[in-house]
C-alpha cells in the first residue's frame, strides 16, 4: 500500500505520532485534571469525616462534568474598569504553561518503538523550569488587570512567593544533574532504571556493593557504597524540591495568592464562568505537571524495579505508562493530603523559609554532592 509507506517516512512518521501522542496526553491529562478536582473534594471530605460529592453518578463520579457544564453556562462577566486585554489573556496564561510542561515529560518508555515523550529535548529540565515559572504571569496579570484590591494583593503575593521559592527549586535539582550528567529527562529516567531511583537507590549495575544479590539479567539488587552516600543529598534535594513544588503550584501551605479566607478569592476574585474555570483547572494542571516532574526526577519516572521497558513488547510499554500515571496520582494524593492537613504560612514566613533555609540548604547540598562524587571518583 503506497499510502502506508508515506506514513512510515521518518519525518511524516514523527509528525503524526507526535500529533497522536499530544492528543492522547492532552486527553488523559485533562481528564485527570477534572478527576483531581473530584479527588480533592472526596479526600477533603474523608479527612473531615464527611462523605463528599455523592449525588451525580456513582460516588459522585460524574460531578466534574456537571461542574464543567455549570461553569460553561454561567455568565462570563467582565467588571467595569478592568484592563480588558490582560484580563482576558490572564486565564490562558495560567493554564498554558502547565500544559506545555507535559510536552517534555517521558510518560512511558516506548510503545511499538515510538518513544513515549512528546518532545525529547536535551534541555528538558530547563524547559520545565522556564515554562512553569511563566505560570506566575497569569496570576500577576490577573491580579493587576482586575483593578480591584484583593486580586491585586494576590498578584503581589504571587510574585513575592515566586522570588522566594524559585531559587531553591532550581538549586535543589542541580545535584540530580551532577549525578546523572544530563539535562534530558528521558536520560535521567534511564539512569534511574539502571541505578535505582534517586530516592530509593536499591539496585545498580557496576560492582562494589556492600550487599548485593545479582539477578539473572546482570543488574544487582542491594546497596553500594557510592549510591548510599549519594542518597543523603538526594533526599535533601527531594524534600526541598517537593516543598518548592507546593509553592510553585500554589498549593496549601503556600496558597498565598488565593488565600480565600483573607483575600476573598485572591487573584481570581473578579473572574467568573469559563475564565475562572481556566484558572481553577490551570492550578490542577500545574499540580499534575509538577507531580510529573517530581516523579521523573526523583521517583524513577515510568520505571518499576524488575519490570522491563517497552522494547520487550507493547504490554510492558503500557505497564510503564500505567506506572508513570500511578506515581503521578500518588503524588497528587500527597498534595491533597497535605492541603487538608496544614494551615497556610504567612508570607513573611514563606520568604524567610525560602531565603534563610532552603536556599542555603540547597546550596550546601550541591557542594556535598560534589564532594561525594569527587570522593567516589578518586
Amino acid at each position: 500500500m503506497p499510502s502506508l509507506d508515506l506514513f512510515l517516512q521518518p519525518e511524516i512518521f514523527l509528525v503524526w505520532t507526535s500529533a497522536l501522542k499530544t492528543l492522547v496526553i492532552l486527553g488523559v491529562v485533562l481528564t485527570m485534571v477534572a478527576y483531581s478536582v473530584w479527588a480533592e473534594r472526596k479526600v477533603s471530605a474523608f479527612i473531615q469525616d464527611r462523605i463528599g460529592p455523592n449525588r451525580v453518578g456513582w460516588a459522585g463520579l460524574i460531578q466534574p462534568i456537571a461542574d464543567g457544564v455549570k461553569l460553561l453556562l454561567k455568565e462570563n462577566f467582565v467588571p467595569g474598569g478592568v484592563n480588558k486585554f490582560f484580563f482576558s489573556i490572564a486565564p490562558s496564561l495560567a493554564m498554558i504553561p502547565a500544559i506545555l510542561v507535559l510536552a517534555v515529560l517521558p510518560f512511558g518508555s516506548s510503545l511499538f518503538g515510538v518513544p513515549m515523550v512528546i518532545a525529547n529535548l536535551d534541555i528538558g529540565v530547563l524547559w520545565v523550569f522556564a515554562v512553569s515559572s511563566l505560570g506566575v504571569y497569569g496570576i500577576v496579570l490577573a491580579g493587576w488587570s482586575s483593578n480591584s484590591k484583593y486580586p491585586f494583593l494576590g498578584g503581589i503575593r504571587s510574585s513575592s512567593q515566586m522570588i522566594s521559592y524559585e531559587l531553591s527549586l532550581g538549586l535543589s535539582v542541580v545535584p540530580v544533574f551532577m549525578i546523572t550528567g544530563t539535562l534530558n529527562l528521558g536520560e535521567i529516567v534511564q539512569y534511574q532504571v539502571d541505578n535505582g531511583w534517586m530516592v530509593f537507590p536499591a539496585w545498580f549495575q557496576s560492582g562494589g556493593g556492600l550487599l548485593e544479590i545479582t539477578t539473572d539479567n546482570g543488574s544487582m539488587f542491594g546497596l553500594n557504597l557510592g549510591q548510599s552516600l549519594l542518597w543523603i543529598p538526594m533526599m535533601v534535594s527531594f524534600v526541598i524540591f517537593l516543598i518548592a513544588m507546593f509553592a510553585e503550584t500554589n498549593r496549601v501551605p503556600f496558597d498565598l495568592p488565593e488565600a480565600e479566607q483573607e483575600l476573598v478569592g485572591g487573584y481570581h476574585t473578579e473572574y467568573s464562568s469559563m475564565r475562572f474555570a481556566l484558572f481553577f483547572l490551570g492550578e490542577y494542571a500545574a499540580m499534575i505537571a509538577g507531580a510529573g516532574v517530581i516523579v521523573t526526577l526523583f521517583l524513577g519516572g515510568w520505571s518499576l524495579p524488575f519490570i522491563p521497558d517497552g522494547s520487550q513488547g507493547w504490554f510492558w510499554g503500557l505497564v510503564n505508562i500505567g506506572t508513570f500515571f500511578a506515581k503521578v496520582a500518588a503524588i497528587i494524593f500527597f498534595f491533597l493530603w497535605v492541603r487538608w492537613t496544614l494551615p497556610r504560612f504567612r508570607f513573611d514566613q514563606l520568604m524567610k523559609l525560602g531565603w534563610y533555609v532552603f536556599f542555603e540548604v540547597a546550596l550546601l547540598n550541591i557542594f556535598l554532592t560534589a564532594g561525594i562524587l569527587a570522593y567516589l571518583q578518586s
Binding site: F46, I47, R50, W337, L342
Partner: protein, 176 residues
C-alpha cells in the same frame, strides 16, 4: 492584675515544623482511612433518611385544619386564629351555612381558609387560641414550592394535611 503567659521555648526540632507536620499528616490519614473503610459515623443523608420516626409528639410542623369523627369541619370561622397569628399568615373568609343545615342559624363556616406558608413562623398560637380544636400543627416540615402561590395552603390542602382528629385533645401540652 495582668497575668503574663510565658511563651514556650521551642526546641530546634520543634521549630523545624517537621514533628508537627508529620503528626498532623498522621491524624488526617487516620481519619481518611477510617472513612474509607466505613468506620466513621457520618451525618444522616437527609432526603433518603429522615428523622420522622424519632419526632416528638409535640413537634410543631405545618398548621393544618382537622375534621371530627363525623367528617364535619370543626372550624367555625371565628377568626381568632387570623387575629392572633403574629405574621398574619392566615386569611379567612367566613360564610353562612346553607339554610337546610341544622346549624345554619348558629354557626358560620370558613368559605376560604388560606395559610401563607412563606409567612407562617410555626409558632402554634393559632392552635392554642382555637376554641373549637379545629387547627393543629402537624408534623409536616418540608413545605416547598416553586411559586409563591404554591406556598399558600388553601382549605382543601389544609384538610388534606390535617386529616381527622378524634374527640377532644388535651392541647395545653407545656412543651407545645
Amino acid at each position: 492584675m495582668a497575668t503574663i503567659v510565658q511563651r514556650p521555648k521551642l526546641s530546634l526540632l520543634e521549630r523545624s515544623y517537621f514533628p508537627a507536620i508529620l503528626g498532623g499528616l498522621w491524624i488526617t490519614i487516620k481519619h481518611f482511612i477510617k472513612m474509607l473503610f466505613g468506620q466513621t459515623k457520618v451525618t444522616m443523608q437527609y432526603p433518603e433518611q429522615k428523622w420522622d420516626s424519632a419526632m416528638p409528639e409535640w413537634y410543631r410542623g405545618a398548621p393544618t385544619l382537622v375534621k371530627d369523627e363525623h367528617d364535619r369541619e370543626r372550624c367555625v370561622a371565628c377568626q381568632l386564629c387570623e387575629f392572633i397569628c403574629p405574621p398574619r399568615a392566615i386569611t379567612i373568609k367566613p360564610g353562612e351555612l346553607p339554610g337546610d343545615n341544622r346549624w345554619s342559624k348558629v354557626e358560620k363556616y370558613p368559605e376560604k381558609f388560606d395559610i401563607d406558608m412563606i409567612r407562617c413562623i410555626y409558632c402554634g398560637l393559632c392552635e392554642e387560641v382555637c376554641p373549637e380544636q379545629a387547627i393543629f400543627l402537624r408534623k409536616d416540615y418540608s413545605i416547598t414550592g416553586l411559586t409563591r402561590s404554591e406556598m399558600v395552603h388553601d382549605k382543601e390542602k389544609l384538610y388534606e394535611l390535617g386529616g381527622v382528629m378524634h374527640g377532644l385533645v388535651h392541647k395545653w401540652n407545656e412543651k407545645k
